[in-house]
Every structure is written in structure tokens, then in C-alpha cells.
Symmetry: C2
Subunit: 432 residues, 2 copies
Amino acid sequence: MYDGLKGFRDFYPGEMSARREVTDKIEERVRRYGFREVGTPAMERTQMYVDKSGEEIVEELYHFEDKGGRDVSLTPELTPTVARMVVARQQALQKPIKWFSTRPFWRYEQVQQGRFREFYQTNVDIFGSEEPEADAEILAAAADIMTDLGLSGDDFEFRVSHRDILGGLLESLDSDVDTTDAIRAVDKKEKIDIEEYYDLLVAAGLDYEEAEAFDDVLGTDDLDDLVDFAETDRVESAVENLRAVLAAAEDFGAREYCTISLETARGLDYYTGVVFECFDTAGEVSRSVFGGGRYDDLIEGFGGEPTPAVGVGIGHETLSLLCQRADVWPEEEVATDYYVLTVGDTRSEAAEIARELRELGHVVELNLTGRGFGDQLSYADGINAETVVVVGEQDLADDAVTIKDMESGDQKQIPIDEFPPDGGRPTYDDYE
Amino acid sequence: MYDGLKGFRDFYPGEMSARREVTDKIEERVRRYGFREVGTPAMERTQMYVDKSGEEIVEELYHFEDKGGRDVSLTPELTPTVARMVVARQQALQKPIKWFSTRPFWRYEQVQQGRFREFYQTNVDIFGSEEPEADAEILAAAADIMTDLGLSGDDFEFRVSHRDILGGLLESLDSDVDTTDAIRAVDKKEKIDIEEYYDLLVAAGLDYEEAEAFDDVLGTDDLDDLVDFAETDRVESAVENLRAVLAAAEDFGAREYCTISLETARGLDYYTGVVFECFDTAGEVSRSVFGGGRYDDLIEGFGGEPTPAVGVGIGHETLSLLCQRADVWPEEEVATDYYVLTVGDTRSEAAEIARELRELGHVVELNLTGRGFGDQLSYADGINAETVVVVGEQDLADDAVTIKDMESGDQKQIPIDEFPPDGGRPTYDDYE
């Protein structure tokens, strides 16, 4: 007997059917927004990730030398791959480019609640628009996905910020601040105590008064306070852009799910504009459910023409934790419309009925085992068959079949030329 | 600019939409048969493949030592993984177990027509029935998939055989034959000339007369000839089983696609009963399109209870070659129901209309770029929008929108309270 690898999961049919239902809902929604599916490889050159994220990313990668001597990695995320694809056909592709895909990714990380070494994401990206409508469409599509899954504004919120606000506020201070370290401190704030937070800010170059004032202004409800604090074009235009995105989100139906949260820093080097993270308002899912934002520099960094971009990567594992917490996770079981049960030598007629029912679009199983009546019925029960169609030798002698309702156990013989009808999904109740 | 890896492909939206359509048709068909989707990992311990296929398989594997010191491989096929999953829950799983999944697999091979290093398969398996109905259901589901895709019996055939016929015929000869080598020779027959074929049979231990007689009986149309030639129980029961499977396939609607082809050997060690391969009858796809068969020993070999099994692995790359050859491959382009075009400051009203249309299930895009009328229309044309809904300031002043048919260019103003209606997908023609 073999074991699977730690952090890699097997999904049996019950759990898989729930996951499929959720994935289908997500994809159906983004398709309606005109996002187009792309298919991407599971492996890329390791250098691409190093160039984007620095040498330390290698620690998390499943990377190795292939038989051709290339240093290759299993893809830890989608964005570098789609950026590569945009660059490869940048002249031919009409803008805005709106792409999505659902697939597994791989990172060698500590396995914990909602975090695995193989994990699934639906990525949704827009390339080629710098307008606030693009940011807002990503927010709106993500919000629609959540409500399609049965979640409401009581269950989740999008904490929205702009990358230049934090950086701009820090830059406006008199002290010589290491912005990266300071933003890292803000990222950690919720996980550490306040003294430690202040120590980190001071270590990043702020003096104690600046740290206090900075922390204070981060908590404001009024974006004008930020502009007044910094008195720089950078912060002013960031605030203006954030307001424009929220106004577009209002038109697009997503504003009600958005909270301004300046502490949402969303990593360090990657994002360039509006950023957001989805959180469980009940706090049971302790980490961010998923996040996204604007990354206008990546395509150019990958050797392409300057191309603004905004997107979101929806992680299915944390999303399923939230759905379970909110009690909207689909039932984990298989469903079957009909089991066609044979008694005696009726395979040919039973198979004909099964084929006709399948042509109507139904899920139909029949006897593959040589089992008798009772064992077939028990199997039909196990696959949650709604209706059993008994095709017995006696039924056929009567030019009939017997329809059995599996919930009530009621059954009734009906003429074989009435079953199956030309359409619909007839059950016992249709023949009473 | 980065390159993708050789043998790994990027699928842009046009090609992807065709691939998605084909995958959806395949999966919809097997779901109707009651096959249940499973989700499986991309990585397993290398040892599992070595145990199943021998040390030489390692040459083809993407394998490496992970950071925990395990020798791991990207999955080159599905069967070992599902066998592991069956063994892990063999008591809890009701038989027959009917599973499918569609996913990529990876092998380090020479890239050629229809063969890539990353390739996609839909695997369909039944565990727990040794009855001919199980083999026949695999054949029937595969045949239905082909006809669902628009292929007919003029386009493809299933060449069906039984593993024990070749082995049994060879075993019945007087000479001491190396069966494995002789079957390998049969596998190669179509690719080599007849002298070379005979030489290989002789090298495998047959004398020349035996080779002639063996080759002769392989070409028979009458299965009784095989029984008479071998005069062994093994061949007799193999022939009986093959006949029973074909009789069940007749009832299940798949017999017409099956040709008995004793030379279909389908690998060496893996299969135990009926085997089959799908071929392009026009011969343009020179290799087998896909294949499958019965493998009753694998689950026990993996440490489980003896569990008969039969399945098929449908390779999407060769299948797409066949569909293209037969001119049934779906059109490779994106489709859009509506583009909602803004003129002036109408974003709010346009977004409202877009949302209503999406609620009706349609694919709807709107302006994310700040473009004017002409550029928006050109974009709408590029995404193959069927209908453009113009929401101009003048339209709104008239309490109207303008519906434009993108094929004819005809347009018409209609009252905004009539659009969108409560259902359907209204086009220009609905308002004439």
C-alpha cells in the first residue's frame, strides 16, 4: 500500500462534487464578464520566478534540473506565466486582455489549515487598461462570485487600499525610512503586540513620534487626512485613484463589500496601485481568503511593452473554509437520476432504456455486476438514485416497466411505450 | 522575454475554447453513465511507478528529490494513483467504483505530432466488476464520446482483442517461446517489413513454420479457429470472454464500432483481459488515438484486496488530431453575447444594463478603457459580440438604448424599460 505525499490531496467523488460545483460557479460568473479561459503549463524556468520575486522564492519552489539540464520549477502561481504569454503575443492581442483559469499550483510550505503544498486557484486578470473601471470590474466579479456561492456582505469584506498610500506616507516623513521594512511591519501589525510593532517601525527608520503619527493617520476614516498628512503628489494621486476605483465599484455593484483599510499592504514589490484582500468578517478564517490588485510594471519587467494590469487569484482552499464557516458549502455527495435494474435476462431492453434516458441528459447507471434484485437495489441506494426502473422478465411480459421511488419506496408498473417519454425527468409522482 | 519549455504548451483563448468544448462533451457523457469525478495529485512517490512499470520507466519521468528527501515524480499517468486511492478506502467504497478525471500528465519524451511532454487525458475506470458488462460499458462510453464529438463509424474503429489470446496461442506452440518478446514483435508488425517481423518471432523462440502458422491464425475472422489452433483452456476462455464482451457491447450500442484485431497487444505486463485501441480509419492519425482494457491484477499488486478493473485513458492530443482530420474540431474563437457601449457619462446606466444581462446568464462586456464610440465598436467586433447595446447620453435623454446588430450593422432605438426583458437573449431582430 502506497501513501500519497504530504500536502497533496486525493479528492474522492463526494468532496470532488462539492469542489466542482464551486469551481463551476466561479467560472460561470467570470465567463459572463467576458473573461476568456487560458490553459497554462505546470512547469516554467526557475529563473522567471527568481527575476520576479528574488532568490528567496527558490526555498518555496519545487524546482529541479530536467533531463535537458534546465533548472525548472512547478508553477507556484499563475501571474508570471500569463505575463509571459501576454509578452509573447503582445502585438496580436486586442486590449483589454481578459483571462481566467483554474488550476493547481505548488509550493513547498508548512502544511496547515487551508494551506497545502498543492493548492487550487482561479486567477482572473485584465491586461491593457489603467482605468479605474478595470480595477472595479475585478472587485465586482469577485463580489459576484461570493454572492453566487451564497455568501453575503455579512460573511466577507474586501479590504481595499492603494500601494502608494503607505509608501507615500512613509516617504513624506522627515526621517530616512526603509519603506520595505516599514511596510513589512504594517503587514505584521495584526499578528504582533503594539510595542513590537512600534519597535519594528523605529527599526525601519521612523522616530517614535513619527511612528505614532503614522499609525494614527492609518486609522483615519477620511482619505483627505492622508493627503493633508503627506502633502505630496504621490499620496494625493493615490487617494484620487482609490476614490475613482471605489466610485466605479459603486456603479458596478461592488462598493458595498469594500472597506478602506490602509493596512492592507499585500506583499511588497509586486503591486503598483489599488490592492485588496478578502476577509472573513466573522474572523474564523484567520488569514486572508484571497487577494489581488494592480500590477502595472510586471509586463514591462518581463520584456514587454508597458501594459497596465489588474487581477485577483482566488484560492479555493481558504474559500472553502469560509463557505463551510458560513454554511454554504455544497453537500458532499453524489447524485444519480436513474438506476435501471435488471431481473432475469433483460439486459438488452434495460440497456435500451438506459441509453434513451441518457440521451435526455440524465445520469443513469445499470447492472455491471451480475447481482440480483436486492443487491442492485442496495447499490442504487448507495449512489443516491432518485428513481429505480425495474426491467424484469415479468414486466416485459406485461409490456411494462416498474418505476420505484427510492425515497418513499413506492412503485408502480407503467406501459413500456410510455417510458421514457420524449423529454423531462419522469419520477414515480408523474405516473400517479 | 521568457520562453516556455519545450513540449509544454500555452493555450490562448481561441484554442482553449475549442479544447474546453471537447472536454465538456467528454465529461458530460461519462457523467451520464454515472462515472464520478475524482481529483488527484500531480506528484507521487517515484517508487510507485517503478513497482508498476519497472526501472526503465524512470527514464521517462520528471522525477527529483524533494526538500524532504523523497524521490518524487510528476504523474506520467493516472492509473497508479487511482489504484492507490481504491486501496486506501477499499472497505468504505461501494463496488463497482466508477471514476473519471481530466488532467495533465507529464513524460520526458521526444516531442512530435500529437505528443507533448505535458499532455491531457480523461481517464474513465470501473473497479470491482469482472463481468463483461463492465468492459462493454467502457467501450460504450468511449463510443458515445466519439459520436457526441461528431465523429462516426466511418472515422474511427475500436480494435478489440484479449490479452490471453496472443499469449495463449504462443504458449500452445511446441517451441519454448519468450512470450514477452513475441508480443513485442506483434506490436511492431505494422511498422516493420515482414522479413524483420518473422526474424523477431524466430528470435523469440518460434521456428519458422510456427511463425507462419501463428501469423496466419492471427489473421482469421473466425474466433473458433483460435480455439482449434491452441487447444488450450486459456485460449478457449479468452475467446469466450471476448465474445461475451462483444455481446454486451451490442446491447450497449457499441458493437458496430468494434473490430476484432488480435494484433492489438496494448503494452506488455499491465492488461489481463480484453484490450482495445481506437484508430483513425482514414489512417491520417498514424498512431493509436487512445486505448484501454482490463487490468484485474493491479489493485492486488498495490496491496489491496483482489479487485477486477477496466478502463480507458482518452488522450486529448491525438483525439484533437482525429477531430481535425474529420473536420469536427470546434471553431477556435471566443463568443460574446453583448457589448454595452457607453457614450458620454453613462457608466452607471450601462453597468446596470450589463448586470441585468449577466443575471440572465449572458456573456457581457463593457467599456474598461475610456475609449470613444469607434474604438469601442472595434473592440466589440474583435470579441465577436453578437449585439452592441449603445447607452449614449442622447439615448438616455430619450429614455432609450440603441440595439445594434453586429453582423448586419443595423440598429434601432428601443425604450429602456423594455431592455433587457425578463428573459431570453434579445437581439436586433426581436425589435423589428
